[in-house]
């Protein structure tokens, strides 16, 4: 990877109280690329995103975004940085008390002094980009899951961010919406010239669209590479994950639960 | 909800709320009888004010002319100093008499002003010289019993 790096995570450790979540993570996200962080639920993927967004502070190590150490910024600096970021939350997190239009217009109204006509044009452009022109007067409750995710996507890119983060963008979508959202993520990344980070456990869809993949298990990177590298990976866990096999390093049983012992203990 | 309709509702709500406050002030309360801006102060000393309280009314010939605004004990004379706020429309002569009276047998106490005959009027901040203290019921009963006892000797 030769191109310029937008986000750099160096030797990051993080622990909730004394429970370690991240153990020495090193990652680099070059400009213009679409990169996936994959792993099981609860392996620390979302925690990595939260570090990039400046929500969490690493206990050790540093996270640099656009050349600045994100956890050293004060509130103003952090907010300034976040205006250049977009984040798509797991279930879209649309504001349920606003129309689709107001949702997409939200950041423009909060952060700019643009006149209402220009905001209107911009919102329509964004809605058109996600293929939902015409839904502007609907409330989020009136949208299907896939449409809501696309509206959230339009809201995420409202201010043309340089960095777009997706937290499980495929969760709970039907196969058609899934492909649509996947293709949109790719297209928007290339059209906006942005850098995208996708946190997901949906292997098949993300392998189709991303440039590079980090595989995280139990707070550490266990594999990385392009889609082909990952498919061909010799690592047993990656193999089990990618092909969704039941037998492998991840056992079916919860580690501490020994049912037979429990039966024996009861007197 | 339509923006304008929402504004209309909130506007009506605020107007109704302020209207209710005005009703409470004018119809239920005594703001209509207040003339705070157009008043002047007079003072009077009483040896005993009985149960007189701040905000008690001040009447002349039964007409409400002002309110008691402050009651303190003057430690030089050991008398109660009563500050009165009187409506500017009413002027009283220098030899006006201030009485502490009771409305009804057990009602609340007020100050009655009985105008004298002088031509000079009291000015703002001046002291009413002629005062009569409150009739304290217990003293009255005590005197009555005492005199009864004297008489039956």
């Amino acid at each position: 990877m030769s191109s310029e790096v937008l986000v750099e995570i160096r030797d990051v450790n993080f622990a909730y109280d004394s429970r370690p979540i991240l153990k020495g993570i090193n990652m680099a996200f070059p400009k213009g690329k679409l990169i996936a962080i994959m792993g099981l639920s609860g392996c620390g993927k979302t925690t990595i995103l939260r570090h990039i967004g400046g929500v969490l502070k690493p206990t050790k190590g540093c996270v640099k975004v656009d050349g600045q150490v994100i956890h050293d910024l004060d509130q103003d600096g952090l907010y300034k940085m976040r205006r250049k970021m977009g984040m798509l939350f797991q279930f879209g997190a649309l504001f349920t008390d606003m129309t689709v239009f107001d949702n997409v217009a939200f950041q423009m109204r909060e952060h700019t002094d643009l006149p209402e006509e220009i905001i209107r044009d911009l919102v329509m452009m964004k809605l058109h980009a996600v293929g939902l022109y015409g839904t502007q007067d609907l409330m989020p409750a009136e949208l299907s899951g896939g449409m809501a995710r696309r509206v959230a996507l339009a809201r995420t890119i409202a201010l043309d961010p340089m960095l777009i983060m997706y937290d499980e963008p495929f969760a709970g979508l039907d196969p058609i919406s899934l492909t649509v959202v996947g293709q949109l993520i790719r297209r928007l990344n290339d059209a906006l010239g942005a850098t995208s980070i996708v946190v997901t456990h949906d292997v098949q869809e993300s392998l189709k669209i991303v440039d590079y993949i980090y595989f995280v298990s139990d707070g550490a990177i266990i594999a990385e590479g392009t889609a082909d590298d990952i498919r061909a990976s010799g690592e047993a866990f990656v193999h089990q994950f990618v092909y969704g096999e039941m037998d492998g390093p991840i056992p079916f049983h919860y580690p501490d639960g020994d049912f037979s012992k429990d039966l024996g203990v009861r007197v | 909800m339509e923006r304008t309709a929402l504004d209309l509702w909130v506007g009506m709500f605020v107007v109704a709320g302020i209207g209710a406050l005005v009703v409470l002030a004018m119809k239920v309360g005594n703001l209509s009888t207040y003339n705070v801006s157009e008043s002047y102060q007079l003072q009077a000393y009483f040896t005993n004010i009985g149960g007189l309280k701040p905000q008690a009314s001040i009447k002349s010939a039964g007409v409400l002319v002002g309110r008691v605004t402050g009651i303190t004990l003057d430690t030089e004379r050991y008398e109660a100093k009563v500050v009165m706020s009187i409506d500017k429309r009413y002027q009283f002569p220098k030899d006006t008499f201030a009485n502490i009276l009771t409305s009804g047998l057990l009602g609340e106490q007020y100050i009655g002003l009985a105008p004298g005959g002088e031509n000079d009027m009291l000015k703002a901040g001046e002291v009413i010289k002629k005062t009569q203290s409150a009739v304290v019921l217990e003293d009255l009963i005590g005197k009555f019993l005492y005199s009864k006892a004297e008489g039956s000797k």
Partner: protein, 262 residues
């Protein structure tokens, strides 16, 4: 062992309560600090006044009317024994303006608007709307909490005034129209006894203080709610319980300061 365990339980509860009070105070402070946006964009407050103020109108007006009617009825029965039916207006107005108006309106407001605020903010938190806002570089306290706070603080005194007015009207309907107390003495005795500053304004101050207490509790409970269905429903219950207690305790304290000595 049981003693140690129950002692530990008490300790944990006390520590937890102190923590929450600390967080709550910090939250209140932050709300005040970040109130600038709400006043620069007053529309945000207007919108919330609709949902907390206008939507509470019906319950406030109907409840006020009936409370006044009951006061008229009960007051008449009691005053009749002492032959002072003419003081009915005084009794109705003073009890409403000083106590029943501010307290009952605030209790109704807490269960109508306060619980709705808690549920709304709790759900916004549970569905990551607040985190999304934070990630869009918009402070949720400035954008979501502060407008609701000011809307509640403005709405409750207005609602209270309407409650008391409706109550006096209800007392008038029962006392004068139905029972036949003399209309002149009903109003004149009332006006002679109810002082604008001492009674009406103190009632307004009370309702303002209650407005601050109820909205801060409601917003904090919502903001602090665990992001689950049980979390939000528990927070809603706590809002109603805590604000009712806060209203009654504050009422005692305020009354002790305001109406001492008469």
């Amino acid at each position: 062992m049981a003693v140690v365990r129950s002692l530990r339980g008490i300790g944990a509860r006390v520590i937890n309560a102190v923590w929450r009070i600390g967080f709550g105070s910090r939250f209140f402070l932050m709300t005040l600090v970040y109130s600038g946006t709400s006043f620069r964009r007053f529309r945000l407050i207007v919108r919330e006044m609709f949902s907390s103020g206008v939507m509470s109108l019906i319950i406030i007006l109907v409840a006020g009317m009936f409370v006044g009617m009951v006061l008229g009825l009960q007051g008449y029965e009691t005053l009749k024994r002492y032959g002072s039916e003419s003081a009915l207006g005084t009794l109705v107005a003073l009890s409403l303006v000083r106590e029943l108006g501010p307290v009952l309106a605030a209790l109704l407001f807490a269960s109508r608007a306060g619980s709705a605020m808690t549920a709304e903010i709790g759900l916004m938190k549970a569905t990551e709307q607040l985190s999304a806002m934070e990630m869009m570089a918009v402070n949720p306290i400035a954008r979501v909490v502060a407008p609701r706070f000011w809307a509640g603080v403005i709405s409750l005194p207005l609602l209270t005034a309407m409650f008391s007015s409706m109550g006096v009207f209800g007392g008038y309907v029962v006392g004068v129209v139905l029972i036949g107390v003399d209309e002149g003495s009903f109003w004149s005795q009332m006006q002679a006894a109810v002082d604008f500053q001492h009674d009406v304004m103190n009632g307004v101050i009370k309702s303002f203080v209650f407005g601050v207490a109820v909205t801060v509790i409601a917003l904090f409970e919502g903001y602090d709610a665990p992001p689950t269905a049980e979390g939000v429903s528990g927070a809603t219950t706590r809002t109603v319980v805590e604000s009712s207690l806060a209203i009654l305790i504050l009422d005692f304290i305020l009354t002790a300061f305001m109406f001492r000595g008469d």
